[in-house]
């Protein structure tokens, strides 16, 4: 199409101006890519952490626990729930857990804490916690009274390896106390875990919960999927199972609503700031394109006098804007791509500013932020920048096509 050829040549007649304008747009796009990439990276990392260190992608627990967590709100027929979930063939790991809010005491001190009873051989928490052991060893399967405590808790209780610990918890009006012994001390770097978490076997946890008619209770069954995207699919499948009436299937979004809100909020903030950038870039573009059109009034008048229809003239200017947008976007991809690659590989290291992992919205936020960009995001941002550029070029194009040839030639 000769229109495009003309448009391309017109752009480069004023190379310096074209380059400055396209650089402005490219900078805007590059900035958008980097900032969204960092934002997405941080959010995804928080979600993954929340799932991995929390209760998995899906959780089956007693109705009412989510709104008001309490020791007595447990699955009475925990083993039945576990059996059904395992039989459903979930692609991932299934972890039965008991969790009790308790008072942890030694001879020297008493502290609030959380008792987590897990399958010490199989639970995904093992992978997360075992590497962080600084003293002692992981629990043996055949050790009914073994406990693992965090470094801070060990210091506060003045408990060394082998020390006696009493776990006291109230369950439905009754208070249970059980004695345990410290087999290992872990240090995760996450204050919450190091100060409050006590890990024990399921057997230990079961001693604290009343078992009726031989049914073994559980607080929840946590399901860790291999593929995040499968979460909604398996939620439906599990909800369709003939689980006991008291059981409820929840996704991680329902388990971590504070995190979901935080991400939405943070995203919104990011978009508002990008909007600012976009608005200012638009002002700059309109300026340039308008000027380039106005100074060619005589030339356009000539083209009209030679028979070019106004519509084609409009098309010509729009084609120029289109090509400009194309060039700018490629430039923007290069800038943004380079920035994203660097940040995805090395990350933005904020550890010098805050060495500890920050607790935000109920989940840990790593001070080393890595960028993550999905193709959808790139497409969306590119589309927005492209659209904005085209819209900016609309008014100047209309101006160009409207001037009567006689008037134009008089300039």
């Amino acid at each position: 199409m000769i229109l495009l050829t003309l448009a391309w040549r017109n752009l480069w007649r004023q190379a310096r101006r074209t380059l400055i304008t396209s650089s402005t747009i490219a900078f805007g796009l590059g900035l958008a890519l980097v900032s969204v990439g960092l934002g997405d990276g941080a959010h995804n990392q928080m979600v993954r952490g929340g799932i991995r260190l929390g209760e998995g992608h899906l959780t089956v627990q007693r109705r009412g626990y989510l709104e008001a967590p309490a020791n007595h709100v447990f699955l009475e027929d925990g083993t039945e729930v576990l059996r059904q979930v395992e039989a459903a063939g979930v692609p991932g790991r299934v972890a039965p857990r008991i969790f009790l809010q308790a008072l942890i005491s030694s001879a020297n001190n008493a502290l609030p804490g959380g008792l987590l009873g897990i399958d010490v051989a199989d639970d995904p928490q093992v992978d997360a916690l075992r590497p962080t052991l600084v003293e002692g060893a992981w629990l043996d399967v055949g050790d009914p009274r073994g406990l693992l405590i965090g470094r801070h808790m060990a210091e506060r209780l003045k408990a060394k390896l082998g020390a006696r610990i009493v776990v006291m918890a109230g369950v439905g009006g009754e208070t249970e106390s059980q004695l345990g012994r410290v087999r290992g001390i872990f240090s995760t770097g996450i204050d919450e875990l190091d100060s409050f978490q006590v890990v024990a076997s399921l057997a230990f946890g079961r001693r604290m919960l009343p078992a009726r008619d031989g049914r073994q209770p559980l607080t929840r069954v946590a399901i860790f999927l291999e593929d995040d995207a499968q979460t909604p699919v398996w939620r439906e499948k599990l909800a369709a199972l003939p689980l006991p009436a008291e059981a409820q299937v929840l996704t991680w979004q329902e388990m971590l609503p504070q995190l979901v809100t935080f991400i939405a909020f943070d995203d919104a903030g990011n978009y508002i700031w990008l909007l600012f950038v976009l608005v200012m870039v638009t002002f700059g573009i309109i300026n340039t394109i308008l000027m380039s059109v106005l100074e060619r009034t005589r030339e356009f008048g000539m083209l009209r006098a030679l028979g070019m229809k106004p519509a084609r003239l409009l098309g010509l200017v729009l084609a120029e804007t289109l090509l400009l947008a194309g060039v700018s976007i490629v430039e923007g991809w290069i800038i943004g791509g380079a920035g994203h690659w660097y940040l995805a590989t090395y990350g933005l290291d904020l550890t010098s500013l805050s060495p500890d992992v920050l607790k935000t919205a109920g989940v840990m936020m790593d001070p080393l932020m890595k960028s993550e960009l999905s193709p959808q995001r790139v497409a969306m941002l590119t589309g927005i920048v492209f659209g904005t550029t085209m819209v900016s070029g609309l008014y100047p194009a209309l101006r160009a096509s409207r001037v009567p040839p006689v008037r134009a030639l008089q300039t």
Binding site: A70, H72, S105, G284
Partner: protein, 444 residues
């Protein structure tokens, strides 16, 4: 003005006369408005940049203040005194002797609020959870922190002794964190059972009554906090000889070096061996809560980056505009140079145009920015519809209202920043005017 023959190269610039400056200014201003649309568009972009920068800075400053205030005014105080062993490990027996507190009160002009802590098991109805007890002296606490006003429902009520009669006879009043109240399903007036491991190793227990539910303080207090009077605490723990913590209030939260030194002097007169639980230590709030200072420093940096980017883009727009306006006036500049206007003057004229435009934009931007920021300061930005429980970040819980804090120097900074960046970006295009040869210019 001396004439030169063609081909002899650049002429000397004539000597500076004050009247010429005025002419220059007039020329520059008039040049701006020869193309009103373009100047307006460019100014609009810059106004946008300045306004949003000022608003953003004020908002962040407000948030920082809220967080710092939350921490110091609410619970921490300006400084705190602990035994080393308590600070490290929450050692129950590592107390600040009563004699030390007395000596501090006598020897320094600051105010002190004593606190004691312990872990306990709290039960209400069927629900039960581990909690952290905090014992305070209500009268002294009021003089150091604003804790007593931080009650969401009910009232502070810890000054009142337990009622002598009725269903709650002998029950000390307590305050509970809002999340704890939710989890235990209790509210004002509910009964609470507390079981502890007392200082002598025996089991302490008692019945208490909820007098109030607290607003957001920090995640630990919100989820596990139970506040009682000293007597109430002692009825469970029977710890004698001293307290765990003294919260200190001085006259000025920004000048804490001197108070810290004076308090340390007094504390040094008390033995601090291992038997007592280590030396008595006094720390400033930013030493106690470095996570918060770190988070605040982080905000400062991201703020600077954002401001630079936003203003940088505005300056780019200006650069764009000046470049174009220079190119389209090449013929005119050529004529001016042929008539004897020195190169330096041409460049100065373009720079002055840029200066006027950015000055105008900065003034408008500053006005709008200040107005909006002031509105955000007085009315605030209420996001409780989205986050009803507030936000918790870096160990502090914030109520869901963003309040800005506007200071004169923020506005000045924004304006000066814009002007400086604009002038720098105007340098290149205005410098190109000096490279013009008049004869070349005529050819265009």
């Amino acid at each position: 003005m001396s004439a030169a023959l063609p081909g002899q190269g650049p002429r000397r610039a004539a000597r500076l006369r004050p009247a010429w400056l005025l002419t220059l200014a007039f020329l520059a201003w008039r040049n701006l408005w020869r193309n009103p649309v373009r100047s307006a568009l460019t100014a609009a972009a810059m106004v946008f940049g300045v306004t949003s920068t000022i608003m953003f800075i004020a908002l962040i400053e407000g948030m920082k203040r809220d967080m710092a205030h939350q921490v110091t005014d609410l619970t921490l105080g300006h400084l705190q005194v602990h035994r080393e062993a308590f600070r490290r490990n929450q050692d129950l027996y590592a107390v600040i002797p009563d004699a030390a507190a007395e000596r501090l009160r006598a020897g320094t002009p600051y105010r002190y609020a004593p606190r004691v802590y312990a872990g306990a098991l709290a039960s209400a109805g069927q629900a039960s959870t581990g909690v952290r007890l905090m014992g305070v002296d209500p009268a002294l606490e009021r003089r150091v922190t604003s804790f007593h006003r931080h009650v969401r429902r009910g009232r502070f009520g810890l000054d009142e002794p337990p009622p002598a009669e009725g269903p709650a006879a002998g029950h000390y009043p307590v305050l509970v964190g809002f999340q704890l109240a939710k989890n235990l399903r209790i509210d004002v007036g509910s009964e609470l059972v507390l079981i502890t491991q007392a200082a002598d190793g025996s089991i302490g227990n008692g019945l208490f009554r909820v007098a109030g539910v607290l607003k957001a303080v920090d995640p630990i207090m919100d989820r596990m906090g139970v506040v009682l009077s000293m007597e109430g605490w002692q009825s469970l723990m029977f710890l004698s000889g001293g307290v765990h913590e003294l919260a200190v209030k001085t006259g000025d939260v920004t000048l804490l070096e001197e108070p810290q030194r004076r308090i340390a002097e007094v504390l040094a007169t008390f033995p601090g061996g291992e038997a007592e639980g280590g030396p008595l230590q006094v720390r400033r709030w930013d030493q106690i809560n470095p996570g918060l200072s770190d988070a605040l420093a982080l905000t400062d940096i991201s703020l600077t980056i954002v401001a630079v980017i936003v203003l940088g883009i505005a300056a780019l727009v200006l650069l764009n505009t000046i470049l174009m306006s220079v190119f389209e006036r090449i013929t005119e500049f050529g004529i001016l140079m042929a008539l004897g206007m020195g190169r330096g003057w041409l460049m100065a004229m373009v720079m002055v145009e840029a200066f006027f435009l950015s000055l105008l934009a900065s003034a408008v931007g500053a006005g709008l920015g200040a107005l909006w920021a002031w509105r955000l300061e007085t009315v605030g930005w209420d996001i409780s519809a989205y986050m009803p429980e507030g936000i918790d970040w870096a160990g502090v819980s914030l109520e869901p209202i963003y309040r800005a804090y506007l200071t004169g120097d923020q506005v000045v900074k924004g304006v000066v920043f814009m002007l400086v960046i604009s002038m720098i970006s105007a340098l290149l295009p205005s410098w190109t005017t000096t490279r013009l040869k008049p004869t070349e210019a005529f050819k265009r």
